[in-house]
């Protein structure tokens, strides 16, 4: 035999949109050396491995303190962004691919990427949890394959949303969830996610899915529309309505931050998706978040994290 260690069963790969993965703040690591580590999403997926895809938006090399090379990148799908890194530990083929992708992004060439990646997480001293990905294998794909991936991610997310909803009315025990029809691979994750995240809003995921399906169906026009009709950009719109809308956005942003802040502030993406979910235009919300920050109502303890100035 080649080695004395027993090979563990390979962990399955979840098809998942960026929003679900990036919003996860819960993790689990077994006690044994070879126990797999998991990121647990709000919908209860226990993620060790994912199949994700999107537009490669950035890929840059970072020299680390110990002299090794680390490539950091971000990949966008209709729901948000995945952060990933490729280091010296990656396979030769993955590193070769990364080099060719760096060239393409530097040349401004659009690249659609599909990757099978391991989930990673780290916790800052303040206790905030960040998730990221370590691709094992990846390849460039065309728009058709991207569309196909979108449908798989949507279908699996819808399935998880159903299990999540089913679990809400069930006893929060293993037996209770099984009796409520929650399948075995979701039970453990749903038990701990419910405990950790408390009440969550899943409407955002529905919006992400609707947009992703528009894209998969080739209805790019529909996919380009914001959720709510955008504020009219013509000069005729009344000053009063605009102002009223603006105060409302600001109030909403403040109440979201107040509600979600557990001491470290609330990250940019969470603030925005929640504001959009309450029916506001995203770019308006982005603008108002900036304003609140500039006028001193909010401060950023760290880049991209907002707190209300006490």
């Amino acid at each position: 035999m080649q080695s004395g260690t027993t090979r563990a069963k390979r962990q399955p790969a979840w098809h998942m949109l960026a929003s679900e993965f990036s919003e996860a703040t819960l993790n689990e690591k077994g006690s044994g050396e070879y126990d797999p580590s998991f990121v647990i999403t709000k919908l209860g997926a226990k993620v060790n491995r994912v199949v994700v895809a999107g537009l490669l938006e950035r890929l840059e090399v970072r020299e680390t303190s110990n002299g090794s090379t680390l490539y950091q990148g971000q990949m966008r799908d209709p729901s948000g962004v995945h952060y990933f890194s490729v280091g010296d530990y990656a396979s030769e083929s993955m590193r070769e691919l990364t080099l060719s992708l760096v060239e393409k992004t530097e040349a401004g060439e659009p690249v659609l990427l599909l990757m099978v990646a391991k989930s990673r997480w780290y916790q800052t001293d303040e206790g905030a949890v960040y998730t990221s990905l370590r691709p094992e294998e990846a390849c460039e794909i065309d728009a058709q394959k991207y569309a196909l991936w979108l449908t798989r991610a949507c279908e699996d997310t819808l399935q998880r949303m159903k299990h999540f909803t089913d679990s809400l009315s069930a006893e929060p025990t293993r037996e209770g969830l099984v009796a409520a029809g929650v399948p075995e691979h979701m039970v453990d994750g749903l038990l701990v996610s419910r405990n950790h995240y408390g009440e969550i809003e899943i409407e955002n995921y529905t919006l992400n899915i609707m947009q992703a399906l528009d894209i998969a169906e080739g209805r790019m026009e529909a996919a380009s529309q914001p959720v709510v009709a955008p504020a009219p950009s013509s000069d005729e719109d009344s000053e009063g309505a605009e102002a009223g809308g603006e105060t409302e956005v600001k109030d909403t942003i403040l109440s979201i931050i107040e509600q979600l802040d557990q001491g470290d502030g609330v990250d940019f993406e969470t603030v925005l998706t929640n504001t959009v979910a309450r029916g506001f235009d995203r770019s308006l919300a982005e603008e108002k978040l900036d304003e609140l920050s500039n006028e001193g109502t909010l401060h950023e303890p760290r880049f991209g994290w907002f707190r209300i100035v006490a």
Binding site: A13, Y146, L150, Q225, P226
Partner: protein
């Protein structure tokens, strides 16, 4: 400037005043038409390109359509007799008479569906009632036997003049009166099919078989009288062994508390001891012996190593006499291949069966045979020729060519079940291993050589072979897939020399990367046999093909199935 992207172009120009609006517009159009990236998602990439610098930001664009929430109108009826075969979106109040859950493979995906009987006119005590079968594709967790529910948005299914009700994923179920049968909790009777592989359990089951037996102590200090037999409920059957006297006859319905499940090879068995409580149970709705006995007839896919008292109907496709020497005497063994519509396996007999090679294939009914497994593949053992009855014709479509028949099996079932022969499955390719392509196998044992060395037989020249090593996955289970030479070449659409040229041209790493471009994230169908052990399942495929899927069509189906407007 294109009006379509006007606001997006303005945003870019605000940051990069020197950019050419036409070029920016062309970039948006390219992202959208060639890469399916809507303008709000392409913004940052395009901005980076025109700015020529890097400003990472954690922002994301997310938007979609507002859901159109036009409620479907349902037609309300009070009696099943009011319904026609093509009625859709109907609403009715019914009592659930029975409710069973089963796993079904739908288009290669393992799904749970529920089925049973329902009865209309639930409120009138002695009124006239009609019963229909129903299928619940949800399946909804709030449908329980004995409950009265209002079904909103079901459709009628008529098949060969028989009407039934389809409950779809979008159908709403409102429970009006809770079921009278309690939900199973620990300590209460469990279904035989869902018993754990060890531990103490409680079940209600009918005796299908019982016979006295003896166990001889190993130390020769005598023997113990025991009772062996088999119990059944609607979900399955299980063998039992009682260390205490048990005088109940075949057909008696028993409630048994504190029985211990022990698993020998892959087959669980109930053990009754001093602390086990056995009592006669009364339930006039419980299925009778005849109905329950049909369950001891197993299909080949249900065979488990160590199973006994197995009945099956199989077709013998190959049969040959073999001789071997034991204690200096020539002995004979008959063995060959058998098949049924669920798969293939081997069979061996210690006595000659009245079957000649010219008659093959021959369909036989097997009674009370036992199962052993070799390399995970079940092998039925026949100890007496009277366990075999030759049938005139198979009970399934006689046109079916079982010798070359493959059965579509869901990935979950393959990864957790017994090893199987003659199966195929579909799943997503999630890994193309670096050692895919040409390999050298040991000339002695066919094991793959590592740097010209076999782990068992040392350095040797090896024989060249071709294979792909993949991992396939459905989000719940992962199976290792090895395609043989023939399957690999047909999958790649290449001859052996073309493959050799492709690898020589680009090198092994680039070759594997090109395979990933073709296969990663795509659905593959593979057929062959599986070997399952503690480390997972391995599918050895002699056939494989990529499955073409239409994303637009899938998206539309998903919208319909999940009611995403």
């Amino acid at each position: 400037m294109s009006e379509k992207y006007e606001t997006h172009i303005k945003s870019i120009l605000a940051e990069c005043p020197d950019a050419d609006p036409e070029a920016v517009s062309a970039a948006f159009a390219k992202y959208e038409s060639e890469f399916f990236i809507p303008p709000q998602d392409a913004m940052r990439s395009i901005l980076r390109r025109f700015k020529g610098e890097t400003t990472p930001s954690p922002s994301a664009g997310s938007s979609g359509n507002s859901p159109s929430s036009a409620p479907k109108t349902t037609r309300k009826v009070s009696r099943l007799s009011e319904l026609k075969g093509d009625d859709r979106e109907i609403e009715i109040e019914v009592e659930i008479i029975s409710h069973n859950i089963r796993d079904q493979t739908i288009r290669g995906e393992q799904k749970q569906i529920a089925f049973g009987l329902l009865e209309d006119n639930p409120w009138e005590e002695n009124g006239e009632k009609n019963r229909w079968e129903f299928k619940d594709w949800g399946p909804n967790s709030n449908i329980t036997p004995g409950s009265v529910v209002r079904i909103e948005g079901a459709s009628v299914n008529e098949y060969q003049g028989k009407m039934s009700l389809n409950i779809n994923q979008s159908t709403r179920i409102a429970v009006i009166r809770e079921g009278t049968r309690p939900v199973v909790a620990p300590g209460e009777p469990q279904d035989i099919s869902s018993l754990p592989s060890d531990g103490y359990v409680c079940i209600v089951g009918r005796i299908l078989a019982t016979r006295p037996d003896q166990i001889h102590r190993k130390d020769g200090s005598g023997s113990i009288d025991i009772i062996r037999g088999r119990l059944a409920d609607e979900t399955g059957t299980i063998g039992f062994l009682s260390w205490e006297p048990l005088s109940h006859e075949v057909g008696t319905l028993l409630k048994i508390e504190g029985a211990q499940v022990r698993t020998f090879r892959d087959t669980p068995e109930l053990n009754f001891g001093r602390t086990t409580k056995v009592e006669v149970y009364h339930d006039k709705n419980f299925a009778d012996v005849d109905a329950l006995s049909e369950q001891t007839v197993l299909t080949l896919s249900e065979l488990r190593d160590g199973a006994r008292d197995v009945d099956a109907v199989v077709q013998i496709t190959e049969w040959a006499k073999r001789s071997f020497m034991r204690d200096g005497e020539e002995r004979f063994l008959w063995s060959g291949q058998i098949a049924d519509p669920t798969g293939r396996c081997r069979m061996s007999a210690w006595n000659e069966l009245p079957i000649t090679e010219e008659q093959l294939p021959v369909t036989v009914r097997l009674k009370g045979v036992r199962v052993r497994a070799w390399q995970g593949i079940p092998d039925i053992t026949i100890d007496n020729s009277d366990q075999v009855e030759i049938l005139d014709a198979p009970p399934w479509d006689s046109e079916l060519d079982l010798k070359n028949h493959t059965v579509e099996v869901a990935l979950d079932e393959l990864s957790t079940g017994a090893s199987r022969v003659g199966i195929s499955t579909s799943a997503i390719v999630v890994s193309v291993r670096e050692d895919s392509g040409f390999i050298q196998r040991c000339t002695e044992c066919r094991r793959v050589l590592r740097e010209g060395v076999c782990a068992d037989h040392g350095p040797n020249d090896g024989n060249s072979d071709i294979r792909l090593r993949l991992a396939i996955d459905n989000g719940r289970s992962s199976v290792s897939l090895l395609t043989n030479k023939e399957a690999t070449l047909s999958l790649l659409g290449m001859s052996e020399s073309e493959l050799q040229d492709a690898i020589n041209d680009t090198g092994q790493v680039a070759f594997v990367q090109s395979l990933r471009g073709k296969m990663l994230g795509r659905k593959i169908n593979a057929s062959g046999r599986t070997i399952v052990d503690e480390q997972g399942a391995m599918l050895l495929a002699d056939g494989a093909s990529m499955i073409e899927e239409d994303a637009g069509l899938r998206a539309t189906e998903i919208r319909a199935q999940w009611r995403v407007a």
